[in-house]
Symmetry: C2
Subunit: 228 residues, 2 copies
């Protein structure tokens, strides 16, 4: 399980849990400015009784080139419609590839049969490494890369959210008993961990709760406009 | 440039240098027991006037499952013919995938056009992630993973050694002026950095120098048998 502490990976985790998988959670400290997400990931892993939760420090800030790992400002919007289809400055070069590569290593070392990743190609931020074609190509590569693959036991990349909207993801999680108040999405939280409410990730989250007709349990730093 | 400080990556680096590439070198501290290889990598990068040499600490020892990152003994042989085609215990799960993923991130962040990796499918240790089919699959995945790929500028994975024997690799490097005395191959060196002479990697190296008809500049910890 790639576990970021956000809505998507937490819902993917709840789905894996509901299918009786033994859970090995993997999170990364990668110089992201929102380290509060690691606290959320830890709480999520504990809630689902993960067999192991490994947090690796992977120093992507030394590579840079992203608003999430450098001092470049994170884009802020007042309206979800402002989130365009362009690849935003929060794109981190090859991030999901690095995350999935570590997950592949951990899955092979722990003899896991599958890797769950909460990517979605519907309500997403325009990152190329969230698309179904990318995931299929990673699967093909992974089967050739590993001892497990050579021996004919493919480690399956599972993307249970790939075709769901944010609202459908939230509705799925609510049915599975997920408490979204412990999750974190904001790219630019205040020092006390409150969400900004205006970055791409906050806007998608807010819009998702409204569309799902579920009260948004997020603690925001500022009063929000009622229409998003 | 993925730069391990060994014969293969150093020769690949010399080839890139001879083709007038500006060199960005990337090495990893990954809990390997032979940290002396990082000193070799640093010396190699300096010798070729690399524009940047980034050493990332990537903690693969926390994933484990390899003789290179745990306390499992490294296999020792007295004869190169003992090195079988089976995947050995020195296999590190998904290692080249993790290495190439970081290289992809660095290449995209620094706007590099290519990634050089010194894999060879001839005189190698039986690792699945050294085969041409694996490299092709990684290329396909990388083109889908990145902003650069989406924009139609593929970052090319270059494997100039893929079809060369160890002897041919050494002969190529010698022609390009490589000083192999600064390189390091041994999986199990003594505390002063001398090579053991009997692990898979030492045996392939020794056999390579003999077949290339080039004096072996390696400092070995023990007197060696004359026939290998």
């Amino acid at each position: 399980m790639l576990c970021s502490g956000g809505i998507d990976s937490t819902t993917a985790l709840a789905i894996a849990h509901s299918k009786q998988f033994e859970l090995y959670c993997l999170s990364f400290s990668y110089g992201q400015r929102h380290a509060v997400e690691l606290q959320a990931a830890t709480q999520v892993a504990e809630t689902f009784n993960a067999h192991e939760h490994l947090v690796l420090d992977i120093a992507l800030d030394r590579i840079g080139a992203s608003a999430l790992t450098t001092n470049t400002p994170v884009p802020q919007h007042t309206n979800a419609a402002d989130v365009t289809d362009d690849i935003p400055t929060t794109y981190v070069p090859a991030r999901n590839t690095i995350f999935l590569s570590y997950a592949l290593a951990l899955a092979e070392a722990r003899e896991c049969s599958a890797i769950f990743i909460g990517v979605t190609a519907v309500d997403y931020s325009g990152y190329p490494d969230c698309r179904p074609a990318y995931i299929e190509a990673f699967q093909c590569m992974a089967d050739l890369a590993t001892r497990t693959g050579v021996e004919g036991r493919s480690i399956k990349i599972k993307t249970p959210l790939i075709s769901l909207t944010k609202a459908e993801i939230i509705a799925t999680g609510i049915k599975l008993g997920v408490d979204y108040s412990i999750t974190h999405s904001c790219y630019d939280p205040s020092p006390d961990g409150a969400a900004c409410g205006t970055c791409d990730s906050c806007l998608l989250r807010r819009k998702g709760f409204i569309a799902a007709g579920v009260p948004d349990p997020t603690r925001y730093a500022h009063p929000l406009q009622s229409k998003t």
